[in-house]
């Protein structure tokens, strides 16, 4: 571009036009590549993001710190009121703690009676949210942990309270999390007291839709929604949120994770969970499945 001074002015517009058209074609070719070979393009994107993230990281920190400072300052104003609230809450929690301890003991006894095998525990790594997607059409974020920390594609992200999303792009030191609110997010869930199974579908709003329920009338607002573990991406029994209905009487889920202040998220690493996809043909004849308690077999 810099050498245009030695080209005669008559030719310049023509050359320029060729360049414009050429660049446009290149961009459409990149888009076509992204569309056709999406995994490879996304891997290339993550490789680049991996390079750029360290440069962004130190600039993001002061901004978030400043935001937190403002928030803290606002809460400073009503610190007395908050203190009173916390005291009252603590009192109530003491009661609950007692109840929980008793229940735990009872539970342990019952488990010992039943000889229940529990699924192997999940370990987790906590990371800091670096950026959110910034685009109004996709809901995702970047965290500062990646393959080095044992994260795999599809790892589940939770904050203290509930599921946030899952990993869709993986770099060495960073990972992209697509939130439950994104349109690409579909999670098999279980609505708890009624045991209805459904799919939680994001629609770029803060309250995702609950679809494909067997019986729409069996659920009611306030029901707990947890992951069902179907499909094998999300482990079972992670809290997602509570059922709510919108103005059109469609079932939605109010998420337990606090998306407005996602500073830290935990990424789960599955440990030693054996994926049994076929029956053990090596041992002998294939046995017919035992009808009782079949879902426990996966954990063994």
């Amino acid at each position: 571009m810099a050498s245009h001074s030695d080209i005669t002015p008559e030719f310049w517009p023509v050359i320029r036009r060729i360049m414009v058209v050429g660049l446009c074609i290149v961009m459409l070719a990149i888009f076509a590549l992204w569309r056709i070979n999406n995994p490879r393009a996304e891997r290339m994107r993550m490789a680049l993001v991996d390079k750029i993230t360290p440069a962004i990281e130190w600039t993001v920190t002061p901004v978030t710190a400043f935001g937190r400072l403002l928030d803290d300052f606002q809460s400073y104003n009503r610190v007395y009121q908050q203190n009173q609230e916390l005291r009252r809450e603590l009192q109530r929690m003491r009661g609950w703690r007692e109840a929980a301890l008793q229940l735990e003991q009872k539970n342990a006894q019952l488990r010992a009676l039943n000889n229940v095998k529990l699924s192997p525990h999940l370990s987790f790594v906590t990371g800091e949210m670096l950026t959110d997607s910034g685009s109004p059409f996709s809901q995702s974020g970047l965290v500062n942990i990646g393959r080095q920390d044992g994260i795999v594609d599809g790892s589940v992200a939770i904050d203290g309270a509930g599921v946030v999303g899952r990993v869709v792009g993986l770099g060495e030191k960073s990972a992209r999390i697509v939130f439950l609110t994104d349109t690409n997010s579909q999670v098999p869930v279980l609505v708890l007291p009624s045991g209805q199974k459904g799919i939680l579908t994001g629609d770029n709003s803060l309250v995702p839709l609950l679809q494909f329920l067997e019986d729409q009338d069996a659920i009611r607002p306030g029901d707990r929604v947890v992951t069902s573990g179907d499909g094998g991406v999300f482990p079972a029994d992670l809290l997602i949120g509570q059922v709510a209905t919108d103005a059109d009487q469609r079932a939605r889920v109010r998420l337990a994770a606090e998306y407005s202040r996602l500073d830290f998220v935990r990424l789960l690493r599955p440990v030693g969970a054996l994926d049994q996809t076929d029956p053990g043909g090596l041992v002998g004849n294939i046995l017919s499945p035992i009808p009782y308690n079949t879902d426990r077999q996966r954990d063994q």
């Binding site: 571009m1 810099a2 245009h4 001074s5 002015p9 310049w12 517009p13 320029r16 036009r17 360049m19 414009v20 660049l23 446009c24 290149v26 961009m27 459409l28 070719a29 990149i30 888009f31 590549l33 992204w34 569309r35 393009a41 994107r45 680049l48 993001v49 750029i52 962004i56 600039t59 993001v60 901004v63 978030t64 935001g67 949210m129 670096l130 950026t131 959110d132 997607s133 910034g134 685009s135 109004p136 059409f137 996709s138 809901q139 995702s140 974020g141 992209r176 609110t181 349109t183 690409n184 629609d203 770029n204 803060l206 998306y259 407005s260 202040r261 996602l262």
Partner: protein, 179 residues
């Protein structure tokens, strides 16, 4: 000619800084993307305002490079939005901006209409290529915030960066725009 090139290089560098800053603002984890008000497309505003006022400094290669970088970092379909940014920057390059209030309103209106058309075009391409398409409501909000942000971006360029109406040198040499 030599002085001219120096000025172009300096202004080109400032353009890159402003453009990177504009999409960096979108990246910050401020939680704004979850409210109904989506972040405006500041990169579009800055680019279009710049090419109208300084057609020769924010050249094609810079616009394409910065916009492609934004595509990569903002998790958008690669290259598609860059394509539309290139088209719009070519359309607006070296266009009259004028001094009067009427001219400014016309500029604002045309920038808004072109942005709406770009979003529609993008949605169309995504639909044809069977990719997930943003909802109409989200697009409407995006247009509204971007339209609202344009005068702010222009005044930022005017007061802080000092990018004003085209210099006489830019006007006389009409190589900036393909006619």
């Amino acid at each position: 000619m030599q002085i001219d090139q120096w000025r172009n290089m300096r202004e080109g560098t400032i353009y890159v800084v402003v453009a990177v800053l504009s999409f960096y603002l979108n990246l910050l984890p401020l939680g704004t993307s979850f409210t109904k008000l989506s972040m405006p497309d500041l990169l579009y505003c800055a680019t279009v305002a710049w090419v109208m006022r300084r057609p020769s400094s924010a050249n094609l290669a810079l616009v394409a490079a910065v916009s492609l970088l934004a595509d990569i970092l903002l998790a958008r379909p690669l290259g598609l939005w860059t394509f539309f940014i290139l088209l719009s920057s070519e359309y607006f390059r070296g266009r009259e901006t004028g001094k009067g209030i009427q001219m400014r309103l016309i500029e604002w209106l045309s920038v808004s209409v072109v942005f709406g058309l770009m979003l529609l075009g993008q949605a169309l391409v995504l639909k044809v290529s069977l990719s997930p398409t943003p909802s109409f409501q989200a697009m409407t909000w995006h247009v509204m915030t971007t339209v609202a942000a344009y005068p702010l971006v222009v005044s930022f360029l005017y007061w802080v960066i000092g990018i004003r109406a085209p210099l006489p040198a830019d006007k006389s040499r009409s190589i900036g725009r393909v006619t």
